[in-house]
Every structure is written in C-alpha cells, then in structure tokens.
Symmetry: C2
Amino acid sequence: MAPATTSGSAATEAWTLLQRLMVGQKGRVHTIAAEFGLAPAQMLALQVLEPEHPCPMSALAQALRCDNSNVTGIVDRLEARGLVERRPGETDRRVKILAVTPAGEALRERLQERLREPPEALARLGEEDAQALRDILARALGDA
Amino acid sequence: MAPATTSGSAATEAWTLLQRLMVGQKGRVHTIAAEFGLAPAQMLALQVLEPEHPCPMSALAQALRCDNSNVTGIVDRLEARGLVERRPGETDRRVKILAVTPAGEALRERLQERLREPPEALARLGEEDAQALRDILARALGDA
DNA sequence: TATTGTTATACTCTATAACTATA
DNA sequence: TATAGTTATAGAGTATAACAATA
C-alpha cells in the first residue's frame, strides 16, 4: 500500500529492490563459485553451456555478453581442467563447437544444485508470496 | 499455476527465474556504467556511498563484499576523477573517511536516474503484477 | 570481402601476504 | 598485540585492434 521505496512507479520500485537483493547475494554466489574452484565468469559459462546442446564459441560470448576474445581465455581455463572441449565445426571450419565433458557435466550438476538454493530473503517468504513471486517473474520473462 | 521451471519449491523456482532475469540485465547495466566512464565496481561504489553519510574505507569494502586492499584502488580512481575524497578520521587517525564531492554527487544522481529505469521485462508487467512484485520484494528484504 | 576465433595490449578487479601508522 | 589502510604480487575478466584461416 505505502510506497516500498522513495517514489516512482511500482515497476521502478520493484527494480530498485531487486538490485538491492542481488547485490546482497553477490558474496554468497561468489563463495559457491569458489567452492568449485571456479571464477565467476567460468561458473556462468558452465551454467550457460548445456551438455545436450554443444554450441559455437560465439554463442557463448553472446550469452555471457562479452567479446569473443574473452571467451578464448575463459574456455582455455575450463578446457585445461577438462570440463569442456573444443570440437571442429562440421559445416563451417572456422567455428569451434564447445561441448561439456562428462567431468564438466558432473561438476555442473553439483554446481546447479548449490545455485538453486534460494537466498534467506526468499526462503523466508510465505508460500503464498513465494508462489506469487514465481508466477509474476515467469510472466515477466515470457515463460507463461 | 503450473510450475514455472523444472521443479522444486516456489521459492527455489522464483530464485532461478530471478537469476535468469539478472544475467539478462548484465549487458544493460554494464552499458550504463560505460556511459559514465565507470567500471562496474566503481559504479557500485558510487551507488553505495551516500553523500549525506561519509564512511570509512572499511565500510565500503564491506558493502562491496571485497577485501580492503581492493577498495584502495577503486577509491584511487574515483578520487583521481574528483568524484570522492579521503578525509582523515576524527577520532581514530588510522581510518580514512570517504566523502562524495559535489561533482561526484551530480554524477551519482544522473547515474541513479539511469539505473532506476526498470528493464523491459518488468516495465511490461501490468500494474497489478508490478505492485505485487514490489510488495513481495519489500517483505523479503524486511522493509515492510 | 566478411566472419570465426586467436593473439597482443592495456586496464580493472580480485585475494593474499607483507608493511605502515596508529591504537 | 591488534586494527585501518596501503603496497606488492599474481591471476582473472574486459574491450580494442590486428591477425590467420576460412567462407
């Protein structure tokens, strides 16, 4: 009823609160990455790379929203640990296809499991709020 | 009604959707920082530092969830641009108090204005959903 | 000519450890 | 001894530009 933040539209206020929530989670997510010996960008890459769908380097760059040249280094480190591998493109020999190795898939699953755990702020919501939140976010992301 | 994601509690599903939303926003937020010539950590620091409440270096480190030694460099760059300044602590001469300069405050306000703009995904929510989202997040963060 | 991925370069962020000046 | 901030060091992410191989 009363404004939750200073002022502005409800969407603006929600966005402000969302940013605050995520900044507060930075440390926790970073700690999870460290548990697996992964740097943040490496963790994100491993989340994005679906074992069932190998994809070109450029697709990973797009998903990570960074330059192609960065992906080279990130993949180098993941490949050095045997978590992913580069395969030659089949039709276009310029592209390299990234595939998650079995070891990478195993680590990825344990990682996802840890990352799925909701932060305290969400865990303590009542079931009604949690469901409403999930449904609204699903609509926002176009999943509904 | 139907599960929005694969499985799990509503809070877990909401958290998964939230992470997806934020990853999708990474590029936009980074672009805003670049508009002001700020690196991401510098932008975050400028958001955290309230002009009305100067605070010690260590408080900024805590807010940024990084080591004290990092803050030295981040503040060095902000200070070099005249956006913040270090003042000697009044009671304890070991501490340095960070104060946002008038120039920093002006830039900070323009920055906040840009960052307050909600992403497309939230902006297109109906008013009812937007308000519900805001209120739930406010409860989650303990603001209500 | 255009594109994919790499390399070279330069800057920022990050943690750890050693240091200083205070306390 | 302990603490606040700095410095030194090393590793990682980031963008830009130049490059090789391929299209």
